[in-house]
């Protein structure tokens, strides 16, 4: 779950990170008042969840309160990637001498959290990694032992930074790591961290993402305080009508999961999931030249109703020719229950399951019962002797005719 910049900064402030003076403006007059309180030049930033604000005109500078009001009015009217700003962050304009990048995220290969620091901030860290790898340091964190500041110091020092700068950067990086750990974040970035002309450091921009599954844990203690509702979706773009319908399916009852529907432009509907299976299957379909119409995740033994409704939503998308039902080997999810739901969804959508289901590959609990049902409806199914990748290939082959 993404945070708006002003929310991310509120979380950093709780950990003692130094931030520019400022506040959020809902209307131009608010921006004027904040600028007057600051008593100098300000920067105004559109609060949207997507990137590219500067390029889109969502970041403006103002030298006077009157200019701040005008800039705020312009920003509030400006959509960025189809998103209207929720407000405008108004902060004191900093006299920056140098910019740094600080980040904490998970290293999927090492399966550990990793601190990343660069003395080339203000640009994409991926770009720095490609063009100036010597300006980036990475240090992994333990998931067993508690974090200690000396690890942050080692990371900073590995870039050759010494003296007072080393101490100050260590403190900010340690605060960022503690924010990352305290709020179950998947990404915590300060970019740029500005070194001011007086030698102090201030966070100019930051980006925090919270693990979706951790939202409930932090709802009362943090999210309510920030005004983030439990059912508020936070995406880089507004959800499509198709995605909203997919989200509603997951709420039809408490049993299992059938949701996280993301819309794509293809013609092969996907009913996929189990143990990381969704991403694997989605990638496999693309690797074989298929065009997914959607991404989704099912698992945790969804009810027949849930699987049925998800199938109906996917089949209702214009341009979907067939669906592929592929999951990893399931243990608590029952094959026969999912089979019932999918077949029912296809029939209730007015189609023949034998024609509409390109492949059904869910091995595991109650597969014998599931396969009996699929046989009755003439659906092509396969067991665990067929890999997910091969099942994806067969689906792509079928849809190609």
């Amino acid at each position: 779950m993404r945070f708006y910049e002003y929310e991310a900064k509120a979380l950093l402030r709780k950990q003692g990170v130094r931030l520019p003076d400022g506040g959020t403006a809902e209307k131009p007059a608010d921006a004027g008042k904040i600028a007057r309180d600051i008593g100098g030049a300000v920067v105004l930033k559109s609060q949207v969840l997507s990137g590219g604000r500067m390029k889109a005109g969502g970041v403006k500078f103002a030298d006077t309160p009157a200019e701040a009001e005008t800039a705020c009015a312009e920003i509030l009217k400006l959509p960025i990637k189809d998103q209207m700003p929720v407000n405008v962050l108004v902060e004191a304009k900093a006299a920056v001498a140098k910019e740094y990048y600080l980040g904490v995220t998970f290293d999927g290969v090492a399966k550990l959290p990793v601190m990343i620091i660069s003395d080339m901030g203000g640009i994409d860290i991926e770009e720095v990694a490609e063009t100036h790898p010597e300006h980036i340091a990475k240090v992994h964190l333990s998931t067993l032992h508690p974090f200690s500041d000396y690890q942050a110091k080692e990371a900073v020092a590995s870039l050759g930074i010494t003296g007072g700068e080393l101490n100050q950067l260590t403190r900010v990086l340690a605060q960022l790591v503690r924010t990352f750990l305290a709020y179950n974040l998947t990404l915590a970035e300060i970019n740029p961290l500005g070194k001011l002309e007086d030698g102090s450091f201030v966070v100019l921009d930051c980006h925090l993402d919270m693990e979706e599954e951790a939202r409930e844990r932090h709802q009362k203690s943090v999210l309510d305080e920030l005004g983030i509702g439990a059912d508020e979706m936070r995406q880089g773009r507004p959800p499509t009508e198709f995605e909203k319908r997919g989200a509603r399916v997951d709420n039809v009852d408490h049993r299992g999961v059938a949701g996280r529907v993301v819309e794509f432009e293809g013609n092969l509907g996907l009913v996929i999931g189990a143990g990381g299976g969704s991403l694997t299957i989605f990638d496999a379909v693309q690797r074989f030249g298929g065009k997914p119409a959607n991404y989704c995740e099912i698992g945790g033994n969804p009810s027949v109703l849930k699987a049925c409704e998800l199938t109906k939503v996917i089949l209702s998308k214009p341009g979907v020719d067939k669906i592929a039902v592929i999951m990893n080997v399931v243990s608590n999810t029952r094959v026969d229950i999912v089979a019932r739901g999918v077949v029912k969804g296809v029939v209730e959508s007015g189609f023949d399951p034998a024609e509409k289901i390109a492949v059904f590959r869910i091995p595991g609990a109650w597969e014998g019962e599931g396969f009996k049902l699929l046989e009755k409806y003439g659906v092509h199914y396969c067991d665990r002797t067929v890999s997910m990748s091969e099942a994806a290939r067969r689906a792509v082959e079928k849809i190609a005719g």
Binding site: S303, V304, R334, D336, R340, K344, E369, K372, L373, K376
Partner: protein, 82 residues
């Protein structure tokens, strides 16, 4: 036998047994997917929209006297009873 039908599962309750208020209560208690309920007169009634959710646990079959409740898988013709 009182018959009900859905797409995958058919459940039959003997009419005489269905009138037994105690059995109706027991069936409603044991079914994990709420296929049974006791109607206004205390008789065992079947909740049609839940039939296809049947998990084939046979708890209803075991809770009723032999032969009074039967669960049939419509896709295979197999019947669960005792």
């Amino acid at each position: 036998m009182a018959e009900t039908k859905a797409m995958f599962i058919q459940v039959e309750v003997d009419p005489a047994a269905a009138g037994d208020a105690e059995l109706a209560k027991k069936l409603a208690e044991v079914c994990p997917v709420s296929i049974f309920e006791a109607d206004g007169e205390g008789k065992a009634a079947i909740v049609e929209e839940n039939l296809d959710e049947c998990v084939l646990c046979e708890l209803c079959v075991e809770a009723a006297p032999p032969g009074q409740v039967r669960v049939t898988k419509l896709y295979s013709g197999e019947t669960l009873s005792r």
